[in-house]
Symmetry: C2
Subunit: 244 residues, 2 copies
């Protein structure tokens, strides 16, 4: 039985990295869509595989352990007839080329979506930007190259700041969101004090720790950027939400 | 290519009814699971088909228009090797028997999960319970029979109250959550004034309109009840969350 027998899922989502980040991505995508009833919404399919080996640890130890899960996951989504695939996990994009090679349909790169979103802000290109991400994502260089090409100056975190960030990400994955929020607020304020003008939340756990109502620093939410870019490419952001 | 080549999704979720209710269900399920890292979480697959014809309107007009989407959706999920299927939409359970007949794996009935949750509360069985649901769900009788069998007295909404409720559900589906919350608070307070002791949020849009922090009435959240019951049946609620 093919899924095509009923409603075609146009978007494929490879999830579980982590599970709460996947839920957050789906929520943001749903809220970003200018729909007035169920039927205006995008049909999608999500495969959530939380058992994939840790991406950041694998990159740091030189292991490709997550790769078979990632390539077979995207290949399976492509086989269901989706038109576009997204992976709401920054670190897994270290294996982007291998995933794209395994998928017959385009995979939207999260860093492309995030840097496109950054370009829409009023931040001058010379304004210092901090990348808040796992050690694995920092090492992949998926943001550094794109930001430099676009003319942004990138401020690197020192080891103490990166350790604080690792701890925040771990707390969100463990469901301890309150302490993560407090530490995130202090880290953002410290970066702001050092002259940082904007932070890229380059890990999909971080929007869950960031205080959207009283932010200590303006941020690019890479989950939201990925959701909006996917909706845009699939023609679901053509209408503005009434009243906005 | 089979999904079994990588990580087996143990739970199948038929979503899109509505899209925000599906996101809410996934979020609640993730938060209800006593996990300390990604790998403790449940693997799942969701097919979100927001284009399914309106369930409540179909029931009221005597149409089975949603049925082909529902049966092929659950059959497709079953074919992916899931162990259990859930449908976070109360109204669609009008076609429960036909869906179960189309699926080789068990479908957990949302009203069974909700009434099991109600039985765990301190509400005496004779305490009046209000069913807040679409006109379609009310007409299906999926709650009335179960509540009566369990010894609960059910208070029916009058036509004006039901119209208010229809409007709240419509607002949530359209993404207008703020006015929905205000009307929901007033409706709950009015029911409380009439002696209602507990409300069943028998539509998965309603938890998004209910004020969890300052509830005017204690409620059973059928999305959360469905999530917890699914996790329990699949052995994912055996450990208590540390510190609770």
């Amino acid at each position: 039985m093919s899924v095509r027998a009923h409603q075609q899922p146009v978007l494929g989502i490879l999830g579980g990295m982590g599970p709460l980040a996947t839920a957050d991505f789906i929520t943001k995508m749903t809220q970003a869509l200018p729909a007035k009833c169920d039927r205006d919404h995008i049909p999608w399919i999500t495969l959530s595989q939380p058992g994939i080996p840790d991406r950041s640890e694998s990159i740091q130890s030189g292991s490709d352990a997550p790769l078979p899960y990632l390539t077979s996951g995207v290949a399976w989504l492509a086989a269901q007839g989706v038109s576009q695939i997204v992976i709401p996990c920054n670190t897994s994009h270290f294996w982007y080329e291998q995933m794209q090679a395994a998928s017959a349909v385009p995979i939207l790169h999260i860093a492309d979506a995030a840097v496109n979103e950054l370009k829409k802000t009023s931040l001058p290109e010379a304004g210092p930007v901090a990348l808040l991400a796992t050690r694995g994502t920092v090492r992949t260089g998926i943001y550094a190259g794109r930001l430099k090409s676009a003319g942004y100056r990138v401020v690197e975190l020192d080891d103490e700041e990166q350790t604080t960030l690792d701890n925040i990400i771990h707390c969100v994955k463990a469901g301890d969101v309150a302490p993560a929020r407090e530490r995130m607020q202090r880290l953002e304020a410290a970066l702001h004090g050092k002259g940082v003008k904007m932070a890229i939340l380059g890990c999909t756990e971080l929007p869950l720790a960031h205080d959207r109502r009283q932010p200590a620093l303006p941020v690019i939410d890479t989950s939201l950027a990925l959701a909006k870019e996917a909706l845009r490419r699939l023609g679901y952001l053509e209408l503005e939400k009434a009243g906005e």
